[in-house]
């Protein structure tokens, strides 16, 4: 474990960005339930569990118009 402490200054911010991205996407998925394709039950796991790509795909392709 000791050898990884050196990397914490990079890993922590990266982790925070990932969390911010996922949470923003989840909030958006729940609040705007009209999507270009897919359902809520599909989008929530996608934005939560597929790293950076999930929220990216949701915001660019899956997000419906307000």
């Amino acid at each position: 474990m000791d050898q990884y402490i050196e990397y914490l200054p990079v890993i922590i911010p990266l982790f925070i960005i990932q969390i911010i991205l996922s949470i923003t996407a989840v909030i958006h998925v729940i609040r705007h339930p009209n999507y270009r394709f897919g359902k809520k039950q599909v989008w929530i796991p996608v934005v939560l569990f597929i790293g950076f790509i999930g929220p990216f795909i949701y915001f660019i392709f899956g997000r419906g118009d307000d």
């Binding site: 990397y7 200054p9 990079v10 890993i11 911010p13 990266l14 960005i17 990932q18 911010i20 991205l21 923003t24 958006h28 950076f52 929220p55 990216f56 915001f59 660019i60 997000r63």
Partner: protein, 254 residues
């Protein structure tokens, strides 16, 4: 001048409200953090993939590896994401017919093009240099005292290459009513640049060099003055693209 400022502002607000700015910015920040990390971990990752008993000797990672990751990630992931995000620049307006009102009320047509270009370039500038700054800070932190050559020139070249792609995307997006049209147009342009690489003579002028010779610049294998002609071609393409977008849009029925 006033319509230009107002319309650019509207563009920026739109990028904010559609979460496009948020996505682009966070992805570039994440890339910024990942570059030094991947460089640092690469030998360990390779080791874990090796079958038991086989030993490989790898030199310890240096700051050059971190920058190699930067140029690899920004050209492959960063530019790709940016192009997808900007792909609907004009075509989305055609699809929704949102420009009709403003143009009939007297907004000059060239202002639309110039504002679109300014707003997207601003976003690219901000994301790119933030990514650069983060990588730079962590590279200095992990590899204290190590320096690379021509860092500013090399990153500036890639930045200009990005602007060139945005301007080409602007023509594509102005030409086609469907947002995939602009995307395909830009991809076609990149494919042509890759094809031109095959001919050694033309390759000396190929702007693609600005995006894939960066590591040679950093390690000192190539002098920046060798890339003068690609740089000139790149700037010409940017200016010509903007002018032709304005001309195309003038004739376009919206």
């Amino acid at each position: 001048m006033r319509p230009y400022i107002v319309f650019t502002k509207k563009e920026l607000i739109e990028y904010g409200r559609t979460y496009k700015f948020f996505i682009l910015f966070t992805i570039f920040i994440a890339l910024g953090f990942m570059n030094p990390l991947t460089a640092k971990f690469m030998p360990k990752i390779l080791e874990s993939f090796m079958p038991e008993g086989i030993e490989i000797q790898l030199p310890p990672p240096s700051s050059l590896d971190s920058w190699a990751q930067f140029f690899k990630n920004v050209t492959q992931t960063g530019l790709f994401v940016a192009i997808i995000i900007f792909s609907g620049m004009m075509s989305r307006e055609y699809e929704k017919g949102t420009l009709v009102n403003m143009i009939t009320k007297g907004l000059p047509r060239q202002t639309v093009i110039l504002s679109k270009f300014t707003a997207s370039t601003l976003l690219w500038t901000l994301s790119y240099w933030t990514c650069f700054l983060i990588t730079h800070i962590y590279t200095m932190y992990f590899w204290k005292g190590e320096t690379v050559l021509e860092l500013a020139t090399s990153t500036l070249f890639l930045y200009l290459f990005g602007i060139m792609l945005i301007s080409v995307l602007l023509i594509g997006s102005t030409l086609f009513k469907n947002s995939y049209g602009g995307l395909l147009f830009t991809e076609g342009f990149i494919a042509i640049l890759f094809l031109l690489k095959l001919s050694h003579k033309i390759d000396n002028y190929n702007p693609l060099q600005l995006a894939n010779q960066n590591i040679n610049l950093l390690s000192g294998n190539l002098h920046p003055s060798k890339l003068k002609s690609p740089l000139f071609v790149c700037c010409t393409v940017i200016i010509l693209s903007i002018i032709s977008s304005i001309l195309i849009f003038d004739k376009k029925q919206i």
